[in-house]
């Protein structure tokens, strides 16, 4: 009834093909089939955003997408953000502004912020808070995350 089906997903610029059960969630495909464990499973109920990736350029909770739905799509994960040794401005912002404590929410938080800055390169503080409202952090109280995203927005505006 649920024979494995072939899928090909472009993950971080590289085509990855596999046979998957239709019920395999995208997050498990990334973590377990591709060993890309930067994308985290948090709540597993579509709420916390720790599993956020970019699916065809838009942020998505990969615990709420079947891998088969992403067949033929492009996925970007936290592993695909840096350019060699050079951190993406958002990764740098989280480093410089201490935008994390335990770090569990960070990959998803950064991918949501990438989506936000793509749509709105100069967001207000309120817009940043709304933009990351699909991502929960239980450590920071969010202030340093907001600072980190502002840091990145400024740096990206200069470059």
């Amino acid at each position: 009834m649920s024979e494995p089906v072939p899928i090909t997903i472009n993950v971080n610029g590289r085509k990855r093909s596999a046979m998957v059960e239709p019920r395999l969630l995208l997050v498990h495909f990334l973590r377990e089939s591709l060993n890309l464990t930067g994308t985290h499973v948090g709540c597993d109920t579509s709420q916390c955003g720790a599993c956020t990736v970019l699916l065809d350029g838009s942020s998505a909770k990969s615990c709420t997408v079947f891998a088969v739905q992403a067949d033929g799509s492009e996925v970007q994960t936290i592993e695909g953000l840096a350019d060699g040794d050079e951190l993406h401005p958002l990764q740098d912002g989280f480093w410089e502004e201490h935008g994390l404590q335990c770090g569990y929410c960070t990959p998803g938080m950064i991918m949501s912020a990438v989506n936000l800055l793509e749509e709105n390169p100069a967001p207000s503080e309120a817009e940043i808070r709304e933009g990351i409202s699909g991502n929960l952090c239980r450590c920071t109280g969010y202030q340093h995350i907001v600072n980190a995203i502002q840091h990145a927005a400024e740096r990206m505006a200069q470059s």
Binding site: M1, T45, S46, S59, V65
Partner: protein, 283 residues
């Protein structure tokens, strides 16, 4: 959490999706954004044997205006609806409501057709569609069927949609003087109470109105008492009085840890007033 096993088929056209639906019978479910269905499948509240993916079908996409009538394809995401210049200009209530659903990730995947077909009692768009007197377009083995939004929503998670039918889109008349106001559950952004008001205005006087509530009751429905009280009312001053009985007139009101029945009834009047005032301010 892992759903029960199912067969997955990606439909290449609406016609193919319809025939797959017939083939699959009661075991089959349509999948577009999946943001209502997949969480339910993970909790095994839904265990379909066949998922028919219609998310990428061009036939179900697009936002168009023709002679004052606006049509939105069922597979349009909340993010696309929120970003539509056409809707922002001609039916801002729809774009604004979509912009305030859930969070960015949910809006990037969730679709209007899915939201309407699922009919969560706390979903925002059903109330807006009822207030705009929208028509829901359905396609089944016997062709197209059109249902007024107020008849489409029947009970909790229950709509006038047969197992072998697909929601293909919605259409409604362009309307600027309409607004939606909600008391939201802060984490999920579902409406504890949400009211949509669409007004016909003659200067500061309301000639007729359609007002609908979601969140408060089992399903989105008209607040006919408020509509009657608005006819001939001068706005915005008359909004509070027209809205005052809104909550008390509801037959059934939800009650949960986020709000008692009494609270939801009281907030229905408050958010009806806010929606009416915002709509009147648009004229």
């Amino acid at each position: 959490m892992i759903p029960t096993a199912f067969e997955y088929r990606r439909a290449g056209s609406v016609a193919e999706a319809l025939s797959l639906l017939q083939e699959g019978g009661p075991e089959a479910k349509l999948l577009a954004g999946g943001h209502s269905l997949i969480p339910m499948m993970k909790q095994r509240l839904a265990e379909p044997g066949l998922l028919i993916d219609i998310g990428g079908l061009d036939e179900l996409r697009g936002i168009q205006e023709d002679g004052g009538e606006i049509a939105i394809g069922a597979a349009m995401t909340h993010a696309e609806i929120a970003a539509s210049d056409l809707l922002r200009a001609q039916a801002p209530i729809v774009a604004e409501t979509a912009a305030n659903i859930g969070d960015a990730q949910v809006r990037n995947r969730g679709t209007i057709g899915g939201s309407l077909a699922h009919a969560d009692p706390g979903a925002d768009l059903p109330a807006v569609m009822v207030a705009l007197d929208a028509t829901i377009a359905l396609l089944g083995p016997n062709g197209e069927r059109k249902v007024q939004a107020e008849d489409f929503f029947q009970d909790i998670l229950t709509v006038d949609l047969a197992e072998d039918e697909i929601v293909t889109g919605v259409c409604f008349q362009a309307c600027r003087s309409a607004a939606y106001a909600k008391l939201e559950q802060r984490a999920s952004k579902f409406a504890l109470v949400g009211v949509a008001a669409a007004l016909s205005l003659d200067g500061g006087t309301c000639s007729s109105a359609r007002v609908a509530v979601t969140g408060a009751s089992s399903h989105a429905q008209r607040l006919s008492g408020v509509e009657g009280a608005l006819a001939g009312a001068s706005l915005p001053d008359g909004a509070a009085s027209a809205a005052s009985g809104a909550g008390d007139a509801l037959d059934f009101v939800n009650e949960d840890l986020h709000g008692s029945e009494e609270y939801r009834r009281a907030m229905t009047a408050v958010f009806a007033r806010r929606a009416i005032e915002a709509a009147a301010g648009r004229s």
